[in-house]
Subunit: 318 residues, 2 copies
């Protein structure tokens, strides 16, 4: 059931022995939302604990390292920033998936798996919603809560860079800094820190960078050997894929990646004038207008690169 | 003479035939300040023109491309974001340097070269001050003015990332977005666009990256050949220098650059525990605790690298 903001606040006000669930591949928004809510509810005298189905990257430790553990049988379960049940991860989904009382979320794609769902799809982050809920609960935003909320506001907007930022996002950020959020240190951790493995992968990827069609197509090729040598896995490519399209004059950015089984996975990013999904459809793939993907079977990465770039040249000349 | 905010507003209110001067190597803050002020004063019916002593990078064209030129003998000269006279550039400094009526600035290092100076050293950008002046002048912030002001607010804070961001910065950003600032498109232009030359330089610099002392020292070496081959000049290194210190575990990041005359210019960036100025002092240089520099004469870049890294190893072991 879809509920209103005031009902979500009411549910939390009346709850106790609360279990908060966050999503797998935990990011700054789900963790910031979860630990801000945990801190606020504890300040109200409630017993609260939080579970995550995955390993939490140590860069997020400041969100919770001062907190004490608590063990109790939960009477109320709330999920934050979890768009669908399977994003709880297998173990938590199995154990709690059909018992979630309240889901608080901001995804367009949010599916109602909980008994009650409060979703604001136009909110830049789930943390924005959690902040307003904490205010409505009458809990003062201390500096720890402010830092948790700030983390989600900042990470889900690329540090206030993306088009999802609204008037409200900046208003909340100003209130969080006034409340003592450790904003610049958080931003250094989130945006200005790279692991040595990731920088070594970036170096290899830039070395592989090639241009075609007068600089309108840029291609990065990532082999299994590169991932092995840099000590990274495919998740490190999230930071690599945007590089090609950031280059001036590039209309189509392509990242080719050799999978363990030899399949070539292709990620295509385009500027406003080119349909990435249409390009990928030619190879049996699909996606969005500006970001799409496909897979190429039984070809070397070199051969796949030739086929994909040749098709894109034809496509651009249409 | 140092003046108060209200006096600065008063000066502008009473002025006409106004010439606005911006600083050389023009950035988003000086240009955003200048064109926002020009637009606002023109809305008041005044004649206003703007001069810059340098070539303006085309990425800033949206700040002024709809504006009409105007020619008149100036009766009042105002500089924005210009910390000292020589930053007007030789030609403008020669012609107008001792005739500036009002300087509006936010630099700690601001020197009073104008007849009257209004400086807020704690303002994250000059644009924040200009915005408040425009409001005080009673001019409505339209979407063009908002985009100009937003540009300075965003570029001088690394898109709201740096420690100079205050409660006021975010409050103003929220008002600018409400007024129609084209925020996400501006941020793509400013932060997610790299020239092909710059990306080629970055590729060469990452290829040159070396680690010493168990990964606590990272060194990038830039030769004249690299600048030539990539078609860049030393200004492109502004984007390169922060890379070394962003790597996890690195305490000292060094960028060595071969000058045209063979001198090796050394830039040292450190984390909180290491004094960059002390390291550079050993080579006759100096600077700040976390960013300093020195020059090494009569040595190859390889030899300079060995000397500098060996000294840093000794320094870290002290």
């Amino acid at each position: 059931m879809k509920i209103e903001f005031s009902q979500a606040v009411h549910e939390l006000k009346n709850a106790d022995k609360i279990l908060i669930l966050t999503h797998i591949n935990p990011d700054g928004d789900t963790l910031g939302s979860g630990f801000a809510l945990l801190r606020a509810l504890r300040k109200m005298g409630k017993r609260v604990r939080l579970l995550n189905g995955d390993k939490i990257n140590s860069k997020y430790n400041y969100l919770f390292e001062d907190l004490e553990e608590d063990e109790f049988d939960e009477e109320f379960i709330v999920s934050v920033d979890v768009a669908e049940r399977k994003l709880l991860g297998d173990a938590l989904s199995e154990k709690y998936g059909d018992r979630v009382d309240l889901s608080i979320d901001h995804h367009e794609s949010s599916r109602r798996f909980a008994k009650k769902t409060y979703c604001e799809p136009h909110s830049a982050s789930c943390c924005e919603i959690i902040y307003l809920i904490i205010k409505a609960l009458g809990v003062e935003t201390d500096s720890d809560i402010a830092s948790c909320i700030y983390t989600g506001c900042s990470t889900d907007t690329g540090c206030f860079k993306y088009s999802n930022v609204t008037v409200r996002t900046h208003l909340i950020a100003s209130e969080l800094i006034a409340a003592g959020a450790d904003h610049s240190r958080i931003n250094v951790r989130m945006f200005d820190t790279k692991s040595m493995n990731n920088i070594m992968l970036e170096r290899m990827c830039l070395s592989s960078l090639e241009f075609f069609a007068g600089g309108t197509i840029a291609v990065i090729s990532v082999t299994q050997a590169m991932l092995r040598e840099s000590g990274t896995d495919k998740s490190a490519l999230d930071a690599i894929k945007p590089i090609t399209r950031q280059i001036e004059g590039v209309k189509v950015g392509v990242t080719l990646r050799e999978e363990e089984d030899g399949v070539i996975s292709v990620s295509v990013r385009t500027d406003e004038d080119v349909d990435a999904a249409a390009i990928c459809a030619n190879f049996g793939g699909g996606g969005h207008i500006r970001a799409a993907g496909c897979e190429i079977y039984g070809k070397s990465i070199e051969k796949a690169k030739t086929e994909v770039t040749e098709y894109i040249v034809t496509y651009l000349n249409k």
